[in-house]
């Protein structure tokens, strides 16, 4: 909490300074004052997901413009398949590969994204998950590429991996973007437990009249710690040894069971 307060103070101090440097000349200017409350998240055996809080200040003194906050996980390839009927059974078929699709994507904005940025801007700055997915393979003749793209977003959204919020958080679900007096904003993103454990980035954007004015990128690392880390490292780096350990554990527990069974 103390850290959070310090961060807030920092953001507030920075705000006038950057506002004085003059209006940003173009997009991709990394001068939007922002920070995250938790820049490293640890995963231990009691991990049940967590949340990321992004703070920032709109550098515009009159508070003009719209804020968009995007929390992105690493991209990875993904395959979407369509169910087909074969001999009366529904089987997976017609695979379509995306060379790059975000494994986690949350976009928050103070009002609906479409009214903040143009379709081109959304595509260019990859502000929604569909825009971030790169189609890699040919879509089968019977399929529709946008249907596959929509399916990817829909399926990942159902898993809680893709989230979209506009306006402040609804009372029934945590997360959302809240604007405060003086241009301060706070975005809360819920990271579900199934979100991949990797390097994340929180990107904040300021749009005015559909144009990107300034932006900022903040890294957030999610790492395993303690026993979780040891087990995972062993399993990925020394698969054979890990397997042998598991078998030894099985033999020992089987032996103990047999021993107890004989005793009583």
């Amino acid at each position: 909490m103390r850290r959070l307060a310090a961060l807030l103070a920092l953001v507030l101090i920075c705000a006038p300074a950057s506002a004085q440097t003059g209006a940003p000349t173009g997009p991709n200017v990394a001068d939007l004052p922002a920070g995250v409350a938790e820049d490293s998240i640890t995963v231990s055996s009691d991990y049940r997901g967590s949340s990321v809080t992004v703070f920032g200040v709109n550098p515009d003194r009159q508070g003009r413009g719209d804020i968009v906050v995007v929390v992105r996980g690493p991209t990875d390839s993904a395959v979407v398949m369509r169910k087909r009927r074969v001999f009366g059974l529904w089987v997976n078929g017609d695979p379509v590969r995306f060379s790059e699709a975000p494994t986690f994507f949350a976009v928050l904005s103070n009002r609906p994204l479409r009214s903040i940025a143009s379709a081109q801007s959304i595509w260019r700055y990859q502000l929604d998950p569909a825009a971030s997915a790169q189609l890699a393979s040919a879509v089968p003749a019977t399929g529709d590429p946008s249907a596959y793209r929509a399916a990817l977003v829909r399926l990942r959204r159902a898993q809680g991996l893709y989230q979209e919020y506009s306006g402040r958080d609804a009372p029934d679900r945590p997360g959302g973007l809240t604007m405060y007096e003086g241009g301060l904003f706070r975005a809360v993103v819920r990271l579900p437990a199934n979100a991949p454990i990797a390097q994340y980035y929180a990107d904040t954007y300021l749009f005015r009249e559909g144009r990107l004015i300034s932006a900022q990128r903040i890294p957030i690392s999610i790492t395993r710690v303690g026993i979780e880390r040891r087990i995972h490292d062993l399993a990925t780096n020394f698969g054979w040894l890990y397997g042998l350990i598991t078998v030894m554990l099985a033999l020992v527990s089987g032996w103990i069971a047999a021993f107890l069974f004989r005793r009583t």
Binding site: A78, V80, K83, R154, A193, T246, A257
Partner: protein, 303 residues
Amino acid sequence: MIYLPIAEMPVNVLLILLVSGGVGFLSGLIGVGGGFIMTPALIFLGVPAPVAVATGASQIAATSFSGIMTQTRRRSVDWHMGLLLSFGGILGSVCGVWLFERLLHLGQLDLIVSLLYLVLLAGVGLLMVRESYHIWRGRQAKGVSILRRPIKTIAHNLPFRMRFPRSGLYISVLPPLGIGFVIGALSAIMGIGGGFILIPAMIYLLRMPTNVVIGTSLFQVLITTSLIVVLQSAATKTVDLVLAALLMLGGVIGAQLGARLGAGLKSEHLRAILGALLLAASAKFLWDLVIAPTEQYVLRGLW
């Protein structure tokens, strides 16, 4: 709640212990391995199918080892036959793990696992229901015939014959190798021990005496599942040590309680109930495959 490092999901410790304990209890009560109930149960709990299949094997290894410890004291393992079956099982499980990895890559693993379970659960369920029905009808010779060995089978006519002193057999080595191979492959793909297929095969096809059948099949299952755990760890990285430990704990305690209670209990009714349960589970697998899905698309991403 505990976070599983490989499955990358939190699970309720009590729930997993309860399920594995329940499955162990049933297996102790009725005398089946329980892998063919445990793996679908884990999948229904939301554990990704590859993790459920690969991790289930480690629990079966634990159960069969504890079984073998008690069986060897009664000198009821035919080591020659066991080694031969295991050799077949090793080849089978290597092929099975390879196939598992290919199917996972092709996105067809779920379908194949569902189909295999559909057939297997229906088959075993029918057998159990039928058997207990016959026993219930009046304990005639019909029920006992399951244990009666046929006089001569194909195993006696094939080449490469070998003597098995413990079983008192002089048969070809090819059928045991083939049976071991099939069980090993099924074991790797489905996360089962395969005892409930192996035991009838040994009695009917190999004509082994019933007193060595259980110990020998446990030996084969132990060797095959241990190998599968190591191979899956190396090839697909789907073995979850934390989940495995929970399954072993629950399964072992449940099996002991089940065996205690089962000693003074008639199992016909239980078999009938379990058989009906398996038929119902098999119907569920069929339903999922036949009914038109509400979501036309599936993701083949992380798992």
